[in-house]
């Protein structure tokens, strides 16, 4: 566990930088988190995904899968890869301040 300063606020993060407590995340942290994973600008589509990740995590207690995000938001999977290159499932969770997706064992 470590402490990082995101958008002027001290936040506890795990070894991979995911928030220990998703509740401390605020929207103004998203831009800085995004730039850490190589996403320089957050577009409207990014925000659609981020907002869904937040509400779905609140409702389900789990970070959503790519299929779930795509099905529920209508953003095609291909575009999720364009928005959050290479590792979209992890990156969208990271930027949204929700835990690293478990994958399903």
């Amino acid at each position: 566990m470590a402490t990082e300063t995101i958008a002027g606020t001290e936040v506890q993060v795990d070894e991979e930088g995911f928030f220990v407590d998703p509740n401390v995340w605020t929207e103004d942290m998203a831009g800085e988190l995004a730039s850490q994973v190589g996403v320089d600008e957050l577009t409207e589509d990014h925000w659609t995904v981020i907002k869904f990740c937040r509400t779905d995590f609140d409702a389900k207690g789990e970070s959503p899968t790519l299929r779930r995000v795509s099905t529920e938001t209508g953003v095609p999977t291909k575009q999720l890869f364009a928005l959050f290159p290479k590792k979209p499932a992890k990156k969208m969770s990271y930027v949204s301040g929700v835990p690293k997706p478990k994958g399903c064992v």
């Binding site: 789990e62 590792k87 994958g103 064992v105």
Partner: protein, 413 residues
């Protein structure tokens, strides 16, 4: 008369009726519905392509495992009307229920990935999660002279999450035995960032892959297959060429679950992860692979889940709280080829760890380590499944995971 209807007579459903029939009194009528008369020993499919098992080893009539006092109806299910507590069968018959158990599992859906089902399906493009697929792959392997063998996971979650790794290990062993291993390139592609989803096990299993000269392509989420060019293409446009492709198709719950509005985006039923009670209905449970649980879709999970569920169910129908809480316990032998195997044991909170797994009588088994004893444990399981597990007899396995014997220093590595 109260009515319990169980949908699906696979591992979970069959165990449920065998455990509950003696417990529920005569005032409970129990009906179990399945579209298929045949019970498949699904863990055996893995061995068919390598000639270890044949189809005859993995099939028996379902009726044989249904106890007296339980009605088995062989029929497709059209839909469930959860508001009216009714099940509509395909022929138009309607079953009323007081309590419903959904145990129709999850099934491979190659039709969900463009390019999989076509002229090359079961010729150069295969699966081994169906008995027909496993038998077709046996035929393909028998005469194969080598080339690029690609084993590719299409999406998570899928049932028996260790099976693709086992398939890779067994392929390595099989082609060695045929004397053509140097003619075969094996590549394993997976949606995850490592060989397995849990860190300590992933480290051990990556080592096994490497020692067997099996290449791994990680974070690989296939979009489509191009059977003419013989390549898989991922969403981020990475291509993997193959001569023989073995896929683990997208897994989805039964289609009636979607028609009934009871499923998530993959038709798995959202339930409380400790009690299996539907998040939406107080008289619907989902057990085994059909449930949307954050643990493995595997026979061992179905087994442990049923143990918990059948303890809780008599309380639930009497309006008392369900006191037993499922911990996500999973326990899987992993065949690693050349007559050896590994064993993993874990739950929602504790990942698979090395050490020993105590088992009265025949154990202990070594965890996360290749041994011959683990291989024999796996091979003995077929007898155990047909003769002890399905009939609901007691096994010397605890439904709750135990830390006894496990070495915890590696946590966090």
């Amino acid at each position: 008369m109260n009515k319990l209807v169980v949908l699906g007579a696979g591992t979970a459903g069959t165990m449920v009726v065998n455990k509950l029939r003696p417990v529920l009194g005569e005032e409970w009528q129990i009906t179990i519905v399945d579209q298929d008369e045949t019970h498949y020993y699904q863990p055996g499919f893995l061995f068919i392509p390598f000639g270890v098992y044949t189809k005859q080893d993995v099939v028996k009539p379902k009726q044989r495992f249904i106890p007296s006092g339980v009605d088995l109806i062989v029929s497709e299910i059209d839909r469930v009307d959860p508001e009216a507590s009714q099940v509509y069968l395909a022929g138009g018959n309607i079953l009323d229920y007081d309590q419903l158990v959904i145990a129709t599992g999850t099934e491979p859906r190659p039709d969900m990935t463009p390019g999989l089902i076509g002229d090359e399906w079961r010729k150069t493009v295969h699966d081994f999660y169906t008995v027909d697929g496993a038998v077709a792959l046996r035929e393909a392997f028998k005469d194969w002279e080598g080339g690029r063998l690609v084993v590719s996971v299409m999406e998570l979650p899928f049932k028996c999450p260790v099976a693709p790794l086992e398939f890779n290990f067994l392929a390595d062993s099989y082609f060695h035995e045929r004397g053509i291993r140097d003619q075969v390139d094996i590549t394993y592609s997976t949606v995850t960032s490592e060989a397995f989803t849990k860190p300590v096990a992933a480290k051990h299993l990556s080592g096994v892959l490497e020692s067997k000269n099996i290449a791994i392509e990680t974070d690989y989420y296939p979009e489509r297959v191009d059977p003419e060019r013989k390549v898989i293409v991922s969403y981020d446009e990475r291509e993997i060429p193959y001569d023989l492709l073995v896929v683990i198709p997208i897994n989805m719950g039964a289609e009636y679950i979607e028609r009934s509005g009871l499923g998530n985006e993959l038709n798995h039923v959202p339930v409380d992860k400790h009690t299996f009670l539907s998040t939406d209905y107080d008289n619907i449970f989902a057990l085994g692979d059909a449930a949307d649980l954050p643990t493995s879709k595997a026979g061992s999970v179905a087994h442990f889940a049923v143990e918990m569920f059948t303890e809780n169910f008599p309380n639930h129908i009497e309006g008392r709280p369900m006191t037993e809480r499922f911990d996500g316990h999973a326990n899987c032998f992993i065949e690693s080829g050349f007559g050896k195997g590994l064993l993993i044991d874990f739950n929602y909170d504790t990942e698979p760890l090395p050490g020993k797994y105590p088992l009265p009588g025949i154990g202990p088994f070594s965890l996360l380590k290749e041994t011959e004893a683990n291989h024999w444990g796996k091979m003995m399981f077929k007898w155990t499944y047909w003769n002890l597990l399905l009939p609901g007899r007691e096994l010397p396995l605890e439904a709750q995971m135990s830390l006894a014997g496990k070495i915890q220093e590696e946590v966090g590595v």
